[in-house]
């Protein structure tokens, strides 16, 4: 934060109280709310913090690196007079930073005079452009039935041990701007990628770095790493730093930016920890009452605006504690984001990759990015039909487990076959398989053709005539 140091500010020697990562500083006059402070311990080492609350001559400060080694009398605190700002530049692509945005790859500080407040500012709803362009990820469960659009925020809900990192890496590797089915493949502009790791293991960060290197994307990736053994409090800043850069790239430079945030659950825990130390009234599971607003201040930094060509698309990753989707983190995330891709253990154990459980997954913006002139005319109804068919399969499976498959009606047996084929051929695909939208639609129709025509009430009769390939003679 070279700029912040230059700004100067008042200095206070000695603190009143230290409790966990929170420090109460007395004797400071006219402190600003949310101001950045520089803390010097008795050995002269510097660390940074942020003002959480100010009272008369008292400031409550959160120390990013934790309070280990700070003493009551030997600590000097400098109030820098500004909220947390960071430098942003195009050259930050291809670089690696710590959770506060300081380079850790041995390279120099980014050379720029553009500094931005990490908290950002809310986008005026009238300034937004509603997302309409779909991103082809080459993954059938996303492109076909949970289409991702430029400017959308679509999280991956996963659980410990499931391949969410692989799926995210595959999306990042394969993502191109979608085109109408049948149109020639054009050389699409590549996404700039901003990657933020919060409290994940070093292996995970390494995995992404390797994956970016292999796909030749490393030069267009900026990585912000706050790993599992880094100070948890820093985690609160990490996604904000990443999004600040993303906003600069998208709205100032007009790039299309894909932001991957992993793992939001660790972020939530850091927030809870701070809230706890401050003795705030908790709401559910000890999380602070403002968890929703706080998450929204991250997730809403997504989208497109009228004054820029660029866009920010967010893919946050959450591991659901105990696979519980009603846990406050996935729950509140789902209320803010525009859908969710849910990974399921049952499919995972059955060897299906990616184990996307289609029924609870959803893309809210899908309806506006598909169909005639965008993918293909039949796509929306085709998707609804696949969903409905697969949902019915689940009911029939439950019935079959009671009365046995042999007792099922002929139609129900067809549904069972359809369900199995859906998981094996549609959901399942190789980590390296990049399916076109035509291919995805084709597989879907092949599966629908396993069902009698009379069951297909969501698609039109014309579509049945054109795409249905079954041997069903009825109706």
């Amino acid at each position: 934060m070279s700029e912040a140091t230059v700004l100067g500010g008042q200095e206070v020697v000695g603190v009143g109280r230290i409790e966990g990562p929170i420090m109460v500083v007395e004797g400071a006059a006219n402190v600003s709310y949310d101001e950045v402070v520089e803390i010097q311990d008795s050995k002269g080492n510097l660390r940074r913090g942020r003002v959480l609350e100010v009272g008369e001559g008292v400031a409550v400060v959160q120390v990013f690196a934790g309070s280990t080694g700070l003493s009551i009398d030997g600590t000097r605190v400098r109030f820098l007079g500004a909220t947390l700002h960071m430098p942003v530049a195009e050259e930050m692509l291809g670089r690696i930073f710590d959770g506060l945005g300081t380079p850790i790859d041995g390279g120099p500080e980014p050379l720029t005079d553009v500094y931005r407040d990490v908290n950002g500012q809310p986008i005026n709803p009238t300034a937004r452009i509603y997302p309409r362009d779909y991103i082809q990820t080459g993954i059938s469960t996303i492109d076909g039935v949970n289409t991702l659009l430029r400017g959308q925020k679509l999280p991956l809900f996963s659980g410990a041990g499931m391949p969410h990192d692989q799926l995210a890496a595959q999306i990042v590797r394969q993502a191109t701007l979608g085109r109408v089915a049948g149109a020639p493949q054009t050389e699409g502009e590549e996404f700039a990628i901003v990657f933020a790791a919060m409290g994940v293991k070093n292996d995970v960060a390494d995995y992404f770095r390797k994956s970016f290197t292999e796909s030749g994307a490393l030069t267009r990736v900026a990585m912000f790493l706050n790993l599992a053994d880094d100070p948890p409090v820093e985690r609160i800043v990490t996604p904000r730093a990443a999004l600040t850069l993303a906003e600069y790239l998208a709205y100032d430079l007009g790039k299309h930016v894909l932001v991957v945030l992993t793992d939001m659950t660790n972020y939530g825990e850091a927030l809870r920890q701070i809230s706890n130390v401050r003795g705030e009234v908790p709401s559910r599971k000890g999380y602070p009452g403002y968890l929703y607003s706080d998450l929204a201040s991250l997730y809403e930094r997504t989208g497109r605006i009228r004054t820029s060509q660029g866009s920010i698309t967010q893919i946050p990753i959450l591991t659901m504690p105990n696979d519980d989707m009603t846990h406050p983190m996935p729950d509140l995330t789902g209320y803010i984001t525009e859908g969710q891709i849910v990974l399921g253990r049952e499919l995972y154990y059955a060897g299906v990759y990616p184990p996307v459980t289609v029924l609870p997954s959803l893309s809210r913006l899908m309806k506006d990015g598909i169909g005639k002139g965008r993918t293909r005319d039949d796509h929306p109804r085709w998707g609804a039909q696949l969903y409905a068919g697969y949902a019915k399969t689940q009911d029939i499976r439950a019935l079959a487990s009671v009365i046995g498959e042999e007792e099922l009606s002929e139609v129900d047996q067809k549904y069972l076959k359809f369900g199995r084929a859906f998981e094996r051929e549609f959901v399942n695909q190789a980590f390296t398989e990049n399916r076109t939208i035509e291919r995805t639609l084709e597989i879907g129709w092949k599966l629908l053709s396993m069902l009698p025509k009379g069951e297909l009430t969501r698609v039109t009769l014309d579509e049945i005539k054109q795409y249905y390939k079954g041997d069903d003679a009825s109706s």
Binding site: Y33, R284, G454
Partner: protein, 588 residues
Amino acid sequence: MANEVGKITWISGPVVRARGSRHVGMLELVEVGEDRLVGEVIGLKGDQMTVQVYEETAGMQTGAPIYGTGLPLSVELGPGLMQSIYDGVQRPLPLIEQAVGSFITRGARFDPISREKKWKYTPKANVGDEVKGGTILGVAMETDTFEHRVMVHPDDKGALTWVAPAGEYTVNDTIAKIKTGKEEKSVTMLQRWPVRRPRPFVQRRGANIPLITGQRILDTFFPVAKGGAAGIPGPFGSGKTVTQHSIAKWADAEVIVYIGCGERGNEMTEVLQEFPHLVDPRSGRPLMERTVLIANTSNMPVAAREASIYTGITIAEYYRDMGYHVALMADSTSRWAEALREVSGRLEEMPAEEGYPAYLAGRLAEFYERAGYVENLNGSQGSVSVVGAVSPPGGDFSEPVTQHTKRFIRCFWALDKSLASARHFPAINWLDSYSEYIEDVANWWREKTGKDWLGMRTKAMELLSEEARLSQIVKLVGPDALPYAERMVLETSRLIREGILQQNATDSVDAYSSVEKQIRLLELVLYFHERGMAIVKRGAPINLIHDLPVVDTIIRAKSSVTNEEIDKLDDIQKMIDQQMGQLDAEYR
């Protein structure tokens, strides 16, 4: 007009404390800091005041001044509200965008209603008339077809000493003078009203006219009356917002107030970009011309989110006072309740359930009670219908906001995640939902359609609950074990579910169903049931009925038959007659 009343001593998020004057009023509007951010006094203790600030407080210092205004938090009311988009404290978002760009910065302040724009005004009152609060002085054309009735402020009364001739006026121009005792007062088209105080009316009257939304599950099965209050609770992804949008688009109200309260930015943009292009099926005008939008998205300041509900409902009441039917959508009241909780937490108040303040129920009641079908001060009748979305954490309806909301609404549209997963939309669960307006509006249906709506609705609901019971058995033993008559119930229920309850908001024909089409579809399905039942009771196998081609035709009728060609449903009835007739003959 603003004097310094204190200096800031403490800041925590949207809540600041200051010390100073003892003359600041509770709920007074204040300006905080050098940037003069908008705030409201929410607590007083000796010379210490607690203020909630409607803008981001980062960077604010202790010792900064607070200015009093002497006024409560109010909205501006007058021509120009329509088609506007405001934040939670009525700041016009398009002007903010023009002035400061795509991001909302602090301290940006503009008049909510344009002072320059001229309105075509025609007086309706004469010099010498005795006027009182609510009396209509004249009309201004707010859009090409919408009459904005300019009223006397509810607190004023007296004799008219002067009225402006017909012409074009701004909201600052005097359009009349009223003499009360010795004082003469100039009246403009603009008035202010404190948001937390309901606008007065003479009396409530019974709510017995349904608010027609064109949504079959709502109108036919769980109607809300004009002036009624309904709640839509549902977990994420169950379609609260889509349902709210559908109501905003198609409800037969003359004015729509849509409050996006702590929700997604893209959703508000969708409304903004879609509504100007959608045509109101009744007036033939763009839907935007009857809509006022309040957008305080989830990342905008939390205290303004708390205020947004009141801003919206005050505007709704203002149009009601003119004699209009207004429908207000609030999406979502849970985010509003969370804003209450957040501010309460910062004040270190003793929490009740799940950290919510103890006054949550009271605030919810105050809000929903502002709905109503009333006789206005000027003798006209108008209504405010309120539809509040609720977002229960984890989809658990036993949480405080859903539970308290249930106490103050009479119509409950329960969204169901499993229906949404099966892409049954609107995912309103017909067994968990209820409406207490059914008896009240039955008369209206009879007069309007000449058909026994109540009887048909009851019959359909019986079939659906019978289906729920039977499907328990089917889950255990399979459908083949059921007698044909019971499987006929399953068949008809499927027709009700897929042919009536399911409605595709994105299909141009299906998105809006006229009342006539709704009742005719229901009649058709019940007719099918009656005929089918007679045949299976004589021993005809159920498969024969299941395989009739007309089944598919009935299910597709919702999107193949437009509202204008309902006669085509008679043809479908003839198909039923013909196909059932054959079976009938075989099994006689």
